[in-house]
Structure formats: C-alpha cells, structure tokens
C-alpha cells in the first residue's frame, strides 16, 4: 500500500472513532435531558424535597450544591494557587520537589469514595465536625487540590520563558515578575481549570455521602446569619447536594414520584455541568483575546 492510501485509511479510522464517541455522548445527553427536562419547572427548582409524598422539589439540594462548590473553591483555590506558583517558579529541581509532585499525582488518582471515607473518619468522627457542609468542603478540597495545583502549574509553565526574562531584565523582582506578568498571562488557563474543576465538584457524590451527609434539613431562606442553625449559610448543618440526592432517590427513594424527580434532578445536574464547561471555554477564550488583542 502506498503512503497516501495508508494516510486515508488511518484518517477514516480516526474519524470513525471520533464519530462513535460523539454519538454515545449525544445519546446519553439526549436521553437524560429528554426524560428529565419535562419535569423541571420553577416550582421543582425552588421547593424542598418530600420524603413520602409526591410533588417535592430540589430547591435545598440545588442551593447546597452551589454553596458547597463556592466553599470548596474558597478553600482549594488559594491553596492550589500557592502550591502551583511554588512548584512552577520557585521549587528547586531536586528529590524533595519530585516527591511533592509524586504525592500530588497519587492524591489525584485516589478514588473519591476513599476520599469520602477518609473525610468521614478524620473530620466527621475524629474532629467531631459531624455531617456538615464544612466536612464536605474539606473532603472535596482533597479531591480537588491535586488537579487544580497541576492546572496552575501547567498554566504557568505554558507562559514562555522569554516573558520571565523580559520582566527580570527590566529590573522587576522575581515575585513581581511572577505575580504581575506571568500570572495574568496564565490566567485564562487557570480560569478554565477552575471552572472545569467546578463541574467535577458539582457532580461529585461519593466523596460527600459520608461527609456532607445525606439529609437536607429544612433551612430558612430569610435567615442569613451564618451562626444560626436554620440559616442557609450555616457551615455545620448537614447538606445533601443534588448529586447525592440523585444517588439516594435511586437507591432508597420511597416517594411515589421518585423516578421523575431523579430524572429531573439529573437533567438539572447535567445542564449545570454543561454550563460550567461551556463558560470555561468562553471565559478562557475571551480573557485570552483581551490579553492578546486590542481592548
């Protein structure tokens, strides 16, 4: 066979594989959205769930998911930013640094159930934090940190070395060069990474079942004092998230409309994650354009 034919054949195979992937994805998405979206209404999105009767919603779970996401990012982003900057810009190339990198790699491949059980034993039981949002947020931080750190480090490393030299040669200190020139340039990449991580966290259930808990206590949306037990902002209340809710309904839901609720909640979850992913691309592109072309 001549090279031209080989080339054509290889291309055809690759295209076929890509098409299969797309079809599977489209089928899955289509099925979930088609069976779920008809059950989604404003009422569904805003009312609390019911355990025994039909007509419940996912209001509290939805709120919990977002609140947990924000808390998790608040904890994990600064940590990963610091670690990423250190690894990319300051860490000497030696065994210790390699060890740290390796530890991060191992951490990122831990199954989320294990992270959840670890969180349960350490925070929920040992530190007596109970099933609470804060336990969940810390567990998710463990789950999130490796990828985010990796993302920050890679984004920084992708900025050409020439830019570092330009800054230093201009008489900027290393810290200044990193924070004022390299970091802004790496921002689109970092942001994309954060939003993608947000999608992962949003859909995570296994790490939360034993940490943030499986019950959505009734919360009072008119009480914004974080120290009150019924406040939505309270850090120490158990908080079932959307993903955990779906898991629970499917394993032990006894309300008559369990199937519809599960379908609707899945659709909402998928839509939220899709929005995260699309906005990651959009934001990344826009930021990049803003940085590189005229304002």
């Amino acid at each position: 066979m001549n090279t031209k034919k080989v080339n054509k054949l290889a291309l055809a195979v690759i295209k076929l594989i890509a098409a299969v992937v797309v079809v599977i994805l489209a089928f899955l998405l289509g099925k979930i959205l088609l069976s779920g979206l008809p059950h989604v209404s404003w009422h569904f999105l805003t009312t609390p769930s019911r355990s025994f009767t039909a007509g419940g919603g996912i209001g509290i779970q939805l709120f919990n998911s977002f609140y947990l996401l924000i808390l998790t990012l608040l904890i994990s982003f600064p940590l990963s930013l610091g670690a990423g900057i250190y690894l990319a810009e300051y860490a000497p190339k030696n065994r210790v640094t390699e060890g740290v990198r390796m530890a991060i790699e191992v951490l990122s491949s831990l199954p989320s159930v294990v992270v959840g059980l670890f969180g349960f034993l350490l925070f929920v039981v040992q530190f007596k934090m109970g099933f609470s949002i804060i336990s969940g947020a810390i567990a998710l931080t463990f789950f999130n940190l490796p990828l985010l750190t990796r993302n920050v480090e890679d984004s920084l490393n992708n900025v050409p070395k020439l830019q570092r030299e330009a800054g230093l040669a201009l008489g900027l200190s290393k810290w200044h060069t990193v924070t004022k020139i390299i970091l802004p340039e790496a921002l689109p990449g970092i942001l994309t990474g954060i939003v993608l991580c947000a999608g992962r966290v949003f859909g995570e259930a296994a790490a939360l079942i034993y940490t943030a808990g499986q019950s959505a206590t009734n919360i009072d949306f008119s009480n914004w004092n974080p120290f009150d037990e019924s406040s939505p902002l309270n850090l120490f209340r158990p908080a079932e998230t959307l993903a955990v809710h779906i898991w629970k309904i499917n394993s032990e839901g006894i309300m008559p409309d369990a199937e519809q609720i599960s379908a609707g909640a899945s659709a909402v979850l998928i839509v939220a994650v899709l929005i995260f992913n699309l906005s990651a691309r959009y934001l990344g592109n826009r930021l990049y354009k803003r940085l590189t072309a005229s304002k």
């Binding site: 830019q163 030299e165 230093l168 201009l170 008489g171 940085l291 590189t292 072309a293």
Partner: protein
C-alpha cells in the same frame, strides 16, 4: 586620551555544569557608543552578554569566576542588588517579547514598579521613549492597543522603548534585528545611532554589515575565547589575528 570605562571584565570564566563556555574573558567597554560582539554560533557571545546583567543567574548549575565591574562596582559582589543592576543595565532580546498589556503599559511598566505615580511624568516618558525608539509615529494614535497586536518590528522597538523608559546606562542587545525584516532592521540601526551619545550599547550580531555600519568597537569571540577587540574599522580592514581574518573573509563559521 583613554576614554572612561563603564564596564570592565577580568578573567571571566563561565561553566554550564562541566562545560566551560567562557574561557577567561578580559574585555572593557568605554562609556557610550556602540560595541559589537561577533563570532560563530555557539562561541559564547550571548553567554558573555548575559553575564553583564546577571541573567545567567537564572540558569541552574552555572558557575562564574573572575570580576565584572560596572563603574568600578563588582556586580557579582553579594552587596549588589540584581534588581538595581538590571535597571542600570537593560536588555533587549532576539525575539520581541512585549508583555500582554497595552503599548502604554508596556513602556511605563518599569517605572510603575519603581513607584512612579505622576501621570504627567509617565505620559511624558512614554512619548520620549517611543520617539527615541523610532516607533512613536507607528503607535501614537492608539497607545492603549495591546502591544501584541503590533508587527514584530514594531514590537521590538516597543521593547526597546520599554528599556529606555527606565533610563539605563547600558543597553545589552542580543541579535535584536535577526527576527526583523530589512526595513525594520534599518529603523532599529538608525535608532541605535541616535542613542549612542547617551547610552552604552553592547550588541551581539551575526550581520557583519550591521556591525561594520553602526559599531564603534568590535570584539571577536571564538570557542569561548576573546580573540581580538579594537576599533571596528581596524578589526574589519586590518585584523591582527589570523582567526579574525579567516572568520571575516568567510573561511569558516
């Protein structure tokens, strides 16, 4: 009369790990004027140039011995502040490397970091630096456009303006025109000629015509050694060393 020296270097050796890239360089630069460093690829021109503002410090496993002095101050002494040094010895690179900001911000960046806030002063410095760098006419209508939206030649001149804005004493240029078209190269050359009365420019170039056109003194490097240095005319017309003659007449390198 002997002209005042601004940079002196004595017996400079530089090792990248085991590899000796500079094998004892003694070279002085008189204040102001344009000084060219020439020689075949890999002979250590960039390495030497980067010793003068301590950019080699950024590379792991580099060892430097000997003495380099700027106005009689040892730049490798522990007392020397590299940040301060690099403000006095600016550098322009082979590839234009503007920051991803507006043209205006690129030029004032060094000043801002140094704490200059006065808007009038900044505006004034932007204009003079861009004019000195011969790029003012190209960009004056839209100073707030991203510097990355300029052509390579314009970017390079903005990078030069960025260096000029902090008013260094010495400007190091490592093949500043090798990525530019002839017209842009010419503009940069002409600009250097106007700067040479106030600044000491040290330029690495592979372009022999360029070296002979614009430089006052020329130094020829070969395999980590300085073979010969002297007034440009003498080096090109009447070199004393055989290696220099061979190189300039294209017999090797």
């Amino acid at each position: 009369m002997e002209k005042e020296k601004i940079i002196t270097s004595q017996n400079v050796h530089l090792y990248y790990g085991e590899k000796e890239a500079l094998k004892g360089i003694d070279l002085d630069f008189p204040k102001n004027g344009i000084h060219a460093l020439i020689g075949p690829s890999g002979c250590g021109k960039s390495t030497y140039l980067r010793c003068l503002n301590r950019m080699n410090d950024l590379i792991d496993n580099v060892k430097i011995t000997g003495a380099i002095k700027l106005d009689d101050e040892d730049i490798y002494s522990p007392k020397m502040d590299t940040v301060e040094l690099r403000k006095r010895v600016g550098m322009v690179f082979q590839q234009p490397n503007p920051f991803p900001f507006s043209i205006y911000e690129n030029v004032v960046y060094g000043l801002r970091i140094a704490g200059v806030k006065d808007k009038n002063l900044l505006d004034e410095r932007v204009e003079t630096s861009l004019k000195q760098a011969a790029v003012w006419d190209d960009v004056k209508d839209d100073l707030h456009k991203s510097a990355l939206a300029l052509s390579g030649g314009q970017q390079q001149r903005v990078c030069i303006a960025r260096v000029l804005a902090v008013k260094p004493e010495v400007i190091l240029l490592d093949e500043p025109t090798s990525a530019l078209d002839p017209v842009s190269s010419n503009k940069v050359e002409e600009m250097l000629l106007t700067l040479k009365n106030e600044y000491t420019c040290i330029i690495v170039t592979h372009n022999m015509q360029q070296a002979s056109r614009i430089s006052d003194t020329t130094s020829f490097f070969l395999n980590g050694n300085l073979i010969e240095t002297g007034p440009t005319k003498q080096i090109f017309v009447n070199p004393t060393k055989k290696e220099t003659d061979d190189y300039l007449s294209g017999r090797f390198g």
